[in-house]
Symmetry: C2
């Protein structure tokens, strides 16, 4: 990763953190009966996530316009709220039963299950409230963002993918089914991240289609690399339990394609993602670097 | 309950059921990997709820305009999706741990906990998708509905109220705190129901304020009557376990005001709800009858 790209990545993660504090802060005092709920939400939101979805939102907007749009803060925070809620619920004992997340105890271990369920539910609602509040956008743009995010987060997207994933444990699954599952479970929200950034920046239909094409490929690449890291990474670097997925007898790309095959697939997907951006000039360089980073990361 | 009102209530519940099937149906076949998720969602949605929130949405619109608006189907379905998701999550073992809902096993008993968590999550997303799709409304109206519903469903509304309720078990709570808890837990969504119907019908600010005032009072009345029924009702009529809340040592109006005091409070709230509708003519008669029904129901 070049120093320039690393600096840009750190800057955009910093911007998202600052925006998250600003947009979600507001008047909760320690004697407020909701204080415990907000604290628990912050526990998850403040932990060191990679903020890939927020970054995709910002940089999709940057590919379309050089304006710094306040609305992209709202879009990117909404995306991270949905992603964080999904991690909180996925970690629950009835779901993936994971005690460790981003190097810290999962929310239901740090607090309790009821709090984890409610924080997740609350973050989802808050995401849509943020989009409805996004400033300097037309109502058309805001409702388009709500539509895209709701569909991506719902039964025909992320939630449906997690359902299929849970059902698939201990059962045979083909490569095609695995791809279909991931295109719902993680792909839908990654594509929505690009769409939200694009919509906020006033992207044309053609630009939105190109961003979506890019998103489809990096979404799959992201998952292929996750499966490779689950085998090759170590728990300390990953911040979650290494080998967890293979132990749980979950279908993975590495199992279905072999380690070498999975690595070649990640490179193919990267090439396709870069090709999808051909219609953009230098303004999409950050997205190009991000695609390389997703494939070359070690955690 | 007059025969005329009963017929109107049955007709509007029928309309909501039909709309729910139509708006949520669509192309799922038995070999679709999502089939199990959709079936589980239907299990909860099809059970015989009172559909109070849908009814409030329709009748708030009817108070404002005599037009039959397709958008009210979208609004009313979205409200029932949010309400149903909240019941599914509230019933989970980590939350209220209730095995019975509307006279049938709760969703996590009929299926499993993971499915119940995911169905709830999916219904919430679907609710916002429906509002974004509502036909014949301006983008301004749709985004206003999203904003109201997201706020009412989130940490500053329903989810926050459930959090306070869970914390309050086995602890002392004052009447003021109980009211504040219920105004979040059930009141916020009831008020949102009236707002969504009003917005869909193009209500003025003054009309929306009157509907909100009505909603505040019937929301509290609804909960006071629930507490009375928890003591006086029987399990078969209620469709949920009678005495559950008093056994769990939950704070209730009956405990804090006595049975007689709670009944008097319900009547006072009814009177205030009716007064709030004084600015409307006969078009609000259904809302007036509904307020009486909420206070006089036996389940």
């Amino acid at each position: 990763m070049s120093e320039l790209f690393q600096a840009a990545l750190e800057a955009i993660i910093h911007r998202n953190k600052e925006a998250m504090g600003r947009l979600l802060g507001g008047g909760i005092t320690s004697d407020d009966p909701l204080c415990g709920l907000i604290e628990a939400a912050r526990y998850s939101l403040d932990s060191g996530g990679k903020r890939v979805r927020a970054t995709l939102g910002y940089w999709a907007a940057a590919a379309v316009t050089s304006d710094t749009l306040p609305a992209t803060d709202y879009a990117s925070c909404a995306l991270e709220l949905i992603h964080t809620y999904s991690l909180i619920h996925d970690d629950l004992p009835a779901m993936d039963d994971d005690d460790l997340r981003r190097g810290k105890p999962s929310l239901h271990k740090a607090y309790d299950e009821a709090t984890a369920i409610l924080v997740g539910d609350g973050l989802q609602a808050k995401a849509f409230e943020l989009l409805a509040d996004a400033p300097e956008l037309s109502a058309q743009q805001r409702i388009a963002m709500v539509k895209v995010l709701a569909k991506a987060a719902g039964p025909a997207g992320m939630v449906g993918g997690q359902f299929i994933d849970i059902q698939a444990t201990d059962s045979d699954i083909s490569l095609e089914q695995l791809k279909a599952m991931h295109s719902l479970k993680t792909g839908a929200l990654i594509r929505a991240s690009l769409a939200l950034g694009g919509i906020a920046a006033g992207a044309s239909e053609a630009q939105l289609a190109a961003l979506d094409n890019y998103g489809t490929h990096i979404g799959l690449a992201f998952q292929v690399v996750d499966d490779i890291l689950d085998v090759e990474g170590d728990t300390a670097t990953l911040g979650k339990t290494q080998g967890k997925d293979s132990e749980a007898n979950k279908p993975t790309y590495v199992k279905l394609m072999g380690l070498k095959g999975a690595k070649a697939e990640a490179q193919r997907l990267l090439a396709d993602a870069l090709e999808a951006l051909n219609g953009f000039g230098e303004s999409a360089d950050l997205l190009r670097d991000l695609a390389r980073y997703i494939v070359e990361r070690d955690r």
